[in-house]
């Protein structure tokens, strides 16, 4: 690219004219069309939209797992072409922890693979991270011995331990029960306060978006296009008038497009 993409002036992450497609045996399906947005450092950006709007696909493209059919993604000015540990990924699925490693070893594995530091130092840091997510007592437990919420906490710890500047979360709390879910949201905010990173978080829950995000990008369904962009007000949105207005506005925008009801 001839545009001078020097890190000083380019945004932390820039998604430009992104079109993503995938093939099924019969069709070439366009998941997102001409999507563009920018992310600044330390944003907590929420990608919000109905199921099938391609928000997870966008996240995977930022992660480098999917090649764009059109447009480009630049992280600190550099074109994203393949997966890398500078973008830590937390998945929705509980099976993202390696079942043959304990909670501690899962983190050690991530730290040593991503940062190539000696094992002793990795162990120390892994223990620290387990402590931060309140899993110290379960350091030597295998993933199948952990509850769903614990597994996701371990996965988040594993992701943060690699020191990736950008954290990508793909509905990490969607499979949790409602109680664990709100506890995890609190915990994520606390972790973010302690250890600030840029966070991109995919969800289909308006409440979750309002609790977690500093910015929200709303997608239209199939193919995903940017419908609206919000800057969320402070927390406790449920109580504030502006928060409720925001929610109503989001609901309106989502339902206006006659989305299926499973938002």
């Amino acid at each position: 690219m001839h545009t001078s993409a020097s890190p000083e002036i380019s945004p932390f992450l820039e998604v430009r004219n992104l079109t993503l497609q995938y093939t099924t045996p019969q069709y070439l399906v366009t998941a997102t069309w001409n999507v563009g947005f920018q992310v600044s450092s330390f944003d907590r950006l929420i990608l919000l939209g109905p199921s099938g709007c391609g928000k997870s696909t966008i996240l995977k493209a930022i992660g480098g797992f999917i090649k764009p059919a059109g447009g480009e993604i630049r992280l600190q000015g550099k074109l994203v072409t393949k997966p890398g540990s500078d973008r830590g990924m937390v998945f929705q699925e509980f099976d993202q922890l390696l079942p043959w490693k304990t909670a501690l070893e899962n983190i050690v594995f991530a730290v040593t693979s991503a940062r190539r530091i000696p094992r002793r130092q990795a162990l120390e840091e892994a223990r620290e991270w387990l402590h931060k997510v309140n899993l110290t007592a379960f350091a030597d437990a295998y993933p199948h011995e952990l509850s769903g919420g614990m597994k996701q906490r371990a996965a988040i710890a594993r992701c943060l331990a690699t020191n990736s500047p950008l954290i990508l979360m793909d509905e990490p709390f969607a499979s949790l029960d409602a109680l664990s879910r709100s506890a995890m949201q609190e915990e994520l905010l606390r972790l973010w306060e302690e250890n600030r990173r840029t966070l991109i978080f995919v969800t289909h829950s308006i409440d979750e978006a309002l609790i977690l995000g500093t910015r929200i990008i709303l997608f239209s369904p199939h193919p995903g296009q940017v419908r609206a962009e919000f800057t969320s007000v402070r927390r406790n949105v449920g109580q504030s008038l502006r928060g409720r207005e925001l929610r109503e506005r989001i609901e309106y925008l989502l339902f206006q497009d006659r989305v299926d009801y499973a938002i």
Binding site: K60, K82, P83, P99, S113
Partner: protein
Amino acid sequence: MLSEYPATKRPCSEAGNPGGDPADTACALWLNNEYTVAEAGRLPELQVHLSLVERLRQVTAVRKGCVVLILALIWQAYAMLLENELMFPTFSSALFALYDALVQGELLRAVGTSLRVLAAAYAVGVVAAGLLTVLALTSRFGSDLLETCTGMFNLLPAIALLPLALLWFGLGYPSIMFVIVHSVTWPMTLNIYSGFTGVSNTLRMVGRNYALSPPAFLFKILIPAALPQILTGLKVGWAFSWRTLIASELVFGVSSGSGGIGWFIYEKKNQLDIPFVFAGLITIIAIGLLVENLIFNVLEAKTIRKWGMQS
């Protein structure tokens, strides 16, 4: 037990949110009563030890041992009723024969010969299966080749190849090796390959997220994730090779006098030492069980069952 809150009915919005957000007045639940739960010390014993008999009944080996014992007793009773040592010797005489054959060293020699051939052929089969799988994972032609070959050759009983093997390699161990390798390779390849292709996409993405090199990806993600199927493949391969070995030894034995355990059975039948035939059969079962329980079960317990990948 009532708490200090009397049973006055208050809306929860009043109790929970003194601020009184109007949005919460929609909440129509009332706090009626609160209870305190019994403390741990005042509860009945939460863990009670099971009796010895109960605990023994939990051990699978004990239960299965009982089944074997019952079958042996039935055998003994029936053979004693029959009183025909030539056609159906008693369990006890088979045991005595087994003891004799072991003490004389004849049986041990036969077992040793068999196991040596088996180990060599099994190793060749494992390596072949591994190579085929790697080929199949790295190229489309490889996977087509693998699927076609396993599809065809899996259906071909190893013994059916024996006449050809005799023609090509002559009487002797190369022929047996050939049929055993054939019987091991295909089912094992099929299992290992399906194990690799079945590794969950999430785990693959985790590996790619940390930018693992291809060998690291194979050894740190694919192989452990596919271990349940790999172990199944090894087990199936073991059972196939063991049966093929005995069968091919029985069919044509070996030219030299130091044959394997199949040859031992064949010879004893010719000499009408029928209790020794049974002793040979018992040995085959015993070795099979030993390998199954001591090697594969321990391997499984230390890996996939500990990791919760198999219950």
